[in-house]
Amino acid sequence: MKKRTPEEKLLDPRPGGNIAAASEYGIDLTQIVENLRLTPAERIKGNDQAVNSVLRFEEAMRREKAAKKSKTL
């Protein structure tokens, strides 16, 4: 029988295993598959980009709240 690749195992987990357990827990295995297609450097840079996006979003929310507050004063 042909040995399955990590990607194949993650996309079609065997019932009762740790991969299926992660999926049942709520882990999005497709995101892991996407990450595995990247180099380790790309994975870390992707983390930085994601965090910076969240920080930009939070900053925009803060500015919006401050603007609303100043309008009501």
């Binding site: 195992k9 999926s23 882990i27 990450n35 380790p40 994601a50 965090v51």
Partner: protein, 161 residues
């Protein structure tokens, strides 16, 4: 702007002896983990403390939660007088760990790590098995999702199916 990749590159190119642990290590193995800090376990020899301090000093590290009005001197001696530190820097949060629960100090972590090429520089990253050991030993509820990812990654790499 957060640039944890650049912090790792600076440390590596300065010849600092360290192993990446925590969320960035999980991420580098393929985990879908997002983290705001770079956790490293560092060698506590005098020479390494000096290199570590010299590399991070331009990033203006200050202990997180520390009163902004209070003076803080960051140099090798600061690092010598403690073991684990949580710093904020101009490139993001950097946690320095002298020891990692469940594994030990730098020399122990190196044995449990893999050397990974990161676009032109190489660095030690704690193995999936090592990360599992550390997270199981910490026993923190917040590590549960990370552990689930690590177990799945480990199983995906196993020969048996």
């Amino acid at each position: 702007m957060i640039n944890l990749f650049e912090v790792a590159r600076l440390l590596s190119q300065a010849g600092v002896k360290f192993v990446i642990v925590g969320g960035i290590a999980i991420r580098s193995h393929g985990g879908n983990y997002i983290t705001e800090d770079l956790d490293i376990c560092y060698d506590r020899t005098r020479d390494n403390l000096q290199k570590l301090a010299d590399t991070l000093a331009p990033l203006n590290p200050r202990p997180r939660g520390f009163d902004e009005q209070l003076p803080f001197i960051f140099d090798w001696s600061t690092l010598q007088h403690g073991t684990n530190f949580t710093f904020k820097t101009s490139m993001g949060d950097v946690d320095l760990l002298g020891e990692v629960k469940g594994i030990g100090a730098y020399d122990d972590l190196v044995k449990d790590s893999i050397r990974v090429d990161l676009d032109g520089f190489a660095t030690q990253i704690l193995s999936i098995g090592g990360l599992i050991k550390a997270k199981e030993a910490s026993g923190r509820p917040k590590d549960e999702p990370g552990l689930k990812v690590l177990y799945a990654l480990l199983d995906s790499e196993l020969d048996e199916d």
